[in-house]
């Protein structure tokens, strides 16, 4: 177990190292001169330009620049926005809670609805309800987030005027539409997963045995099947962080909601490279950490993995 843990952690550290190299490279991969791109229309003397180059540390050899970037990043210093000179880490800290609130609401929604739907479909396997639930779920998977958001605005904000179309903070009414938009495709995935794994488990020998012993069906499902069917769902939660963080770019844009997704989109169109780097780095680090934790939890829940 310890060996596994160590190996898993080592892999994560190696990946994080690679992530940092990749993110660092963004500024160097930009075609053309990054200083020109930053200064833009402002007419600046050669002296000031050299000063900026110095300030960005672009005169040093690349490995030196990388080392400086890494050591600063490890101390929480992700540089400054070149648009409004706000420290990148500060901007991200300001925006992150809003994104997390959105992601968690979407996840709760997806797990709640998806679970019930999937479970019911599995129990009623082969009936019209199963077909309906699965049709709904494949539709939910196929609907583009950005279109769903617009349709929800059209219906609930423009026509019914139930919820605001712009969303700030974490109040219920502000979160409903964005969370629905972000969570609906997830709901479909959860429903399909729960159904599949329930059907799988329900066909297992020990369930048949339990039924043969005369255990009531509700008990079979609750006590035996459900518990085992839950394992893949747990992993799913971890894996979906990526989707939720990524999907927030679109949802936050539609609902003009604060958050790191919107921060990223705006930084890209503003060519605010330090900001782009910062957001991408933070999201990737969060993702790697959650994946590592999920893997480890999963391994503990399911000891057979360790043998591989």
């Amino acid at each position: 177990m310890t060996t596994y843990l160590l190996r898993r952690l080592l892999t994560s550290i190696l990946v994080l190292f690679g992530v940092s190299v990749l993110v660092f490279s963004i500024i160097h991969l930009v075609p053309g001169d990054v200083v020109t791109a930053i200064l833009g229309r402002q007419k600046v003397s050669a002296q000031q330009e050299a000063q900026l180059r110095q300030q960005l540390g672009l005169n040093d050899p690349i490995p030196v620049q990388y080392w400086r970037y890494l050591s600063k990043a490890l101390h929480g210093d992700l540089g400054e926005s070149i648009r409004n000179y706000v420290p990148v880490s500060q901007a991200i800290t300001e925006q992150l809670p809003s994104t997390i609130a959105l992601a968690i609401s979407a996840l709760i929604l997806a797990l709640g609805i998806g679970f019930v739907l999937g479970l019911a479909a599995a129990i009623k396997h082969g009936t019209w309800f199963d077909t309906l639930a699965m049709s709904l779920s494949v539709s939910g998977l196929s609907i583009p987030t950005f279109w769903l958001g617009l349709l929800l605005i059209l219906l609930f904000s423009v026509n019914l005027k139930w919820f605001p179309s712009i969303s700030t903070g974490s109040s219920f009414s502000a979160l409903v539409l964005p969370a629905l938009t972000l969570g609906l495709p997830e709901t479909s995935v959860v429903a399909r997963m729960v159904r599949a794994s329930m059907l799988d488990v329900l066909g297992k020998e020990y369930i048949t045995a339990a039924r043969a012993k005369g255990v009531r069906e509700s008990m079979v499902i609750l006590k035996h099947a459900l518990r085992n069917a839950l394992i893949p769902v747990v992993t799913f939660v971890g894996l979906q962080t990526a989707y939720l963080l990524g999907g927030s770019t679109i949802v936050e844009t539609i609902f003009a909601r604060q958050g790191i997704g919107r921060l990223a989109v705006q930084a890209i169109s503003n060519r605010d490279y330090p900001m782009v780097q910062g957001v991408v780095l933070v999201v990737a680090v969060i993702y790697v950490l959650i994946n590592t934790i999920t893997d480890i939890t999963y391994t503990m829940l399911n000891p057979t993995i360790r043998l591989k």
């Binding site: 791109a37 833009g40 402002q42 007419k43 005027k161 712009i166 919107r262 169109s269 503003n270």
Partner: protein, 561 residues
């Protein structure tokens, strides 16, 4: 994306410059622009300018005013500011040495009186003695010196104020005693007094400047009617009433502290989002609302609309005369003739829009009717010109000459009104142009513009005076400046240079009339529409007026319960 609008807000008004109103103090210099200043009625800018102040009951104090704006300021340091959206907020936070009334007349501000020397290189101000900054620092001669010195210091990389001071070789601010100060320049600066009334040259607390250093732009401290409370990035800027405020300009409709408790600027880049927020009562004022909705809401009485037709350079395309195929004057003429400005303005902005036919808008001093009458939409004539120039239509409806297509390289910004971009491309396509649009942000446009990689470049410039023509057309500004047509003409250079320094107003006017004619005769620009500032507000907003350049004058606004 937005309507009329993001244009106004987000595009860099390079406006770094001189001569706000060379004819300062001459009421004739600012014709209609001033009367429109208090127009808060129906959407059409030409409607009767009934001031709203008279029929209303006594003003009420209190309330939070939330204004939806499209672009976020980069800084709230007046000395580092450039953009429209910055000045929009700064006007409530800061005061300047002078106050410029909507009719362009000069009034005491932080200075009680002023005296220029004979060659307009030194200006002596007598300062108010009863003013203190939001942080408690007393206002005095040292504060004036600190503010101006800050602008030219390396802390400020580039700004509107820096350009003004640098261009006129700012020497120093000499403190005579606590309340007397002389600002000295190395060059004659006849328009300094009116410039000293603008937001770019307003006065900051020397304590705060020293305390925050480079970070001052996030912690502005002025003497204005509102104090800075907080700035949540990408979300909002919150100001609260300055209870000590007792030095409002004499032309203001009241004295003492402002009526509103708080002013919140909500940053909502999408015009559609600003509209929805307005409809759900989250905003009381929307800047640059979507035109279609604005008109329908105003017609149905759900909203009040105020428009401010900006004088200066209207929305134009500056055509690159240094690059194929637009180096050919016939191609440029064909471009102008192919665009139906009237229809374009109506389609995009509905009744809020007004077409432009020249390089200056009609509300600008020295506007020349003749220059504006040179071209009238005529597709046949455009086609004829292109035929004569040897551009032959191919089977795809695109013109070709010597194997090269008639391509217009058009860099757009995602914040601009897309339908105007696409409509423009559509008109040009009808004449056989192949318009290639490239979407870039300001910085991207800037580097392409500097490199000359474009066929036409979007521009507008709000000024009551025609002086921005110098920045945009003097051939000395081709490299490293903003003379994006890259056109060299001795006569044009000569009249523009003379117009900039001429003190005889008749001769000066003649210079700018000639300049307009040269520009239009050579088809250097493709005029599009006049830029209007449009604000939509609830009926509870009273006394909504504009300052000289179309910024809402929040100090005088009050709200009914």
């Amino acid at each position: 994306m937005s309507k009329t609008s993001k244009l106004f807000q987000s595009i860099l008004i390079l406006a770094a410059v001189s001569m706000l109103l060379a004819a300062c103090g001459q009421p004739a210099a600012t014709p209609q622009a001033t009367s429109a200043g208090t127009q808060a009625t129906a959407p059409v800018a030409t409607n009767p300018p009934a001031p709203v102040t008279t029929d209303t009951p006594a003003p009420l104090s209190g309330g939070v005013l939330t204004i939806g704006i499209g672009s976020e300021p980069n800084t709230l340091d007046p000395g580092a500011a450039v953009y429209v959206q910055e000045q929009f907020v700064l006007i409530s936070l800061f005061d300047s040495l002078l106050s410029v009334a909507p009719d362009a007349s000069l009034h005491p501000g932080l200075a009680l009186s002023w005296q220029p020397n004979t060659d307009y290189t030194e200006f002596t101000f007598k300062l108010r003695q009863d003013v203190k900054f939001h942080d408690g620092t007393p206002f005095n001669a040292a504060a004036v010196k600190a503010s101006f010195d800050h602008i030219v210091s390396p802390d400020v990389l580039e700004s509107g104020g820096k350009t003004l001071l640098d261009d006129h070789k700012y020497l120093e601010t000499a403190v005579i005693d606590d309340y007397d100060v002389t600002v000295k320049f190395g060059a004659s600066y006849p328009t300094f007094l009116s410039d000293a009334g603008r937001q770019w040259l307003s006065i900051s607390s020397p304590t705060a400047l020293a305390l925050y250093g480079k970070d001052y732009g996030r912690h502005p401290v002025g003497t204005g009617p509102f104090k800075f409370v907080k700035w949540d990035a990408q979300s909002q800027i919150v100001l609260e009433r300055n209870p000590d405020y007792n030095w409002a300009p004499e032309y203001a409709s009241h004295q003492g502290p402002a009526y509103l408790d708080q002013v919140v600027f909500r940053i909502l880049p999408e015009a559609a989002t600003r509209l929805t927020a307005f409809q759900s009562n989250e905003l009381q004022v929307v800047s640059d609302p979507p035109a279609l909705d604005t008109i329908s809401m105003s017609d149905s009485g759900q909203a009040v609309v105020a428009t401010f037709p900006n004088p200066g350079i209207p929305a134009i395309m500056m055509i690159n005369t240094d690059k194929e195929p637009t180096n050919d004057i016939n191609v440029r003429k064909a471009m102008i003739l192919a665009v139906n400005q009237d229809e374009l303005a109506k389609t995009v902005f509905k009744s809020l829009g007004m077409p432009a036919y020249s390089v200056l808008s009609p509300t600008t001093w020295s506007y020349d009717e003749q220059a504006a009458s040179l071209y009238h939409y005529n597709l046949d004539q455009a086609n004829q010109l292109l035929d004569q120039a040897g551009w032959v239509l191919n089977s795809n409806g695109i013109r070709v000459k010597n194997g090269k297509t008639l391509t217009i390289d058009y860099i757009t910004s995602p914040v601009w009104e897309e339908s105007f971009n696409e409509l423009l491309a559509g008109y040009l396509a009808k004449a056989g142009f192949d318009v290639k649009m490239r979407s870039m942000d300001d910085a991207g446009i800037a580097s392409e513009a500097a490199a000359g990689n474009y066929s036409m470049l979007y521009m507008y410039w709000t000024r009551a005076d025609p002086s921005p023509l110098n920045i945009l057309f003097l051939s000395s500004n081709i490299n490293g400046g903003s003379a994006y047509t890259r056109f060299k003409n001795d006569q044009l250079d000569q009249v523009l240079t003379d117009g900039n320094t001429q003190t005889n107003m008749d001769l000066r006017e003649q210079d700018y009339v000639t300049a307009q004619r040269i520009i239009m005769e050579n088809a250097l620009v493709l005029p599009l529409f006049t830029v209007n500032n449009v604000y939509m507000m609830t009926a509870s907003i009273k006394n909504f007026t504009f300052d000289l350049e179309g910024y809402p004058w929040v100090y005088d606004i009050w709200m009914t319960k």
